[in-house]
């Protein structure tokens, strides 16, 4: 069998998936992370559609005289997943926008730094408050 062409799509999927995965874990920018998540998601879509394909098959719309069709089931799953994907991405973007309003940054490191600074300020205020009470 022609092994390499048969498996080529899966290799592309793995590459894209890992590219998306890398962006999600290695980069600090929240919007970029969402793009990475989108890459990952799209690679899963390609995986499903690749599996549903049938050699010599037609698109699954019944026409007279055609018996071989690609499997409609993966198509259905992915079709809805795409639309659900854009809805969830929108929720993620909305969260990013709110975070930017609260911290004036969408970089993870800066957000953490600001959180830690706020915590320390709070603790300092508490300890000085206690010392004042003792005196």
């Amino acid at each position: 069998m022609n092994f390499l062409p048969g498996i080529f799509n899966y290799l592309v999927v793995v590459f894209l998936m890992m590219a998306g995965f890398y962006v999600v874990i290695a980069q600090g920018n929240l919007i970029k992370k969402l793009v990475g998540l989108g890459l990952f998601q799209a690679s899963v879509f390609i995986l499903y559609i690749t599996m549903g394909n049938l050699a010599g098959g037609r698109a699954p719309i019944v026409v007279e005289g055609v018996t071989a069709y690609s499997s409609p089931l993966p198509h259905v799953l992915i079709l809805t997943a795409i639309v659900v994907g854009v809805a969830t991405t929108a929720v993620g973007l909305a969260l990013a926008v709110r975070i930017h309003e609260a911290y004036d940054s969408v970089e993870e490191d800066q957000i953490h730094a600001e959180d830690i600074a706020a915590d320390e300020a709070l603790m300092n205020a508490e300890t000085t408050g206690r010392e004042d009470g003792r005196r």
């Binding site: 062409p5 890398y22 290695a26 970029k32 989108g38 559609i49 098959g57 699954p60 198509h75 639309v83």
Partner: protein, 309 residues
């Protein structure tokens, strides 16, 4: 390759644009793999709506990424190991187009051989979507509705005194306006065609909803902030989104009351096949309305924020 470029760049504007191109290429690939419905959706959603949403949230945050990043070595290692494991798994996967693959056994032959007679709809994707797997699709419609609610809770839709219908942020682009104006009715007509012809050709509620929403997004972008809002006020959209889910659920409850299982459309008419066909049409209509109003609501939420700042 476009994916790699999207990762390397720190100009987020370019990243988003490349992501749109990537979506379009994916759609072309789906077309080649005989998945016309999916290609349709990906082209409308990925290249259209997602790009607009990402751009408007970039407008609300920052365009440039802060450069000194963390050391990528550890992440590269993790990614490398996972990737190697996946490649190893892929070596055992069924080859592309192999008719003996597990996907083509089990339920697929039944869908293909009897789908057209049982549901009365030539487009098998629509038949499976709305009838055989009607529960899943109902769940997904509810997820989309919930996501719309979440965005509204997070951002809200703001009415603004600065809202100026007719004055666009990109200025008075005569060429754009005169191109878009005749295009709009065509897009809307195409959306309707996709909605109601989805049982015969490629298309259906999900695609039609997105296409319809895209037309209004385009109108708003070219003809000025808030001009779409004066055509379709957000208050209507809230109700429309709920109505869409309600139509879908209502069809299910009706078939329950008629003594059949939830979402068993053969209860809708005396002739079961006719009932199935009617059910598919109604359900797709519900999906289309819900998707259209949620996508447009999300766009309003983002664009309303932009003006406030």
């Amino acid at each position: 390759m476009i994916a790699v470029a999207a990762i390397r760049l720190s100009d987020l504007f370019a990243v988003v644009m490349l992501f749109g191109v990537y979506s379009l290429l994916t759609a072309a690939l789906f077309m080649d793999l005989d998945a016309v419905d999916v290609a349709f959706t990906e082209a409308a959603v990925g290249a259209g709506v997602t790009t607009v949403l990402m751009l408007s949230s970039l407008h609300l945050t920052k365009r440039w990424e802060v450069l000194p990043r963390r050391k990528p070595l550890l992440s590269l290692l993790v990614v490398g190991i996972t990737g190697a494991a996946l490649v190893y798994a892929v070596l055992d996967a069924p080859l592309l187009g192999d008719p003996t693959a597990p996907v083509h056994q089990h339920v697929t032959p039944r869908y293909i051989e009897q789908g057209a007679e049982e549901v009365g709809v030539p487009n098998l994707v629509t038949a499976v979507l709305a009838s055989y797997r009607g529960y899943d699709t109902f769940g997904e419609t509810v997820v989309i509705f919930t996501a719309g609610l979440a965005v509204l809770l997070l951002l809200g839709i703001h009415e603004d005194a600065r809202m100026r219908p007719g004055v666009s942020a990109i200025g008075d682009q005569v060429v754009l306006r005169s191109v878009v104006k005749p295009l709009l009715p065509l897009i809307l007509l195409f959306g309707l065609y996709v909605q109601f012809h989805g049982d015969f050709g490629a298309g259906g509620g999900f695609q039609a909803g997105v296409i319809f929403a895209t037309a209004f997004v385009l109108y708003d972008l070219v003809f000025g902030d808030g001009s779409a809002r004066s055509v379709v006020p957000p208050g209507w959209l809230h109700r429309l989104a709920a109505l869409g889910v309600l139509i879908y659920g209502g069809v299910g409850v009706y078939s329950l009351l008629a003594g059949k299982a939830f979402l068993d459309y053969s209860a809708l008419a005396a002739d079961p096949v006719h009932g199935q066909h009617l059910g598919v049409l109604l359900v797709e209509l519900g999906v289309g309305i819900a998707v259209f109003s949620v996508v447009l609501l999300i766009f309003y939420a983002f664009s309303g924020r932009s003006r406030r700042r």
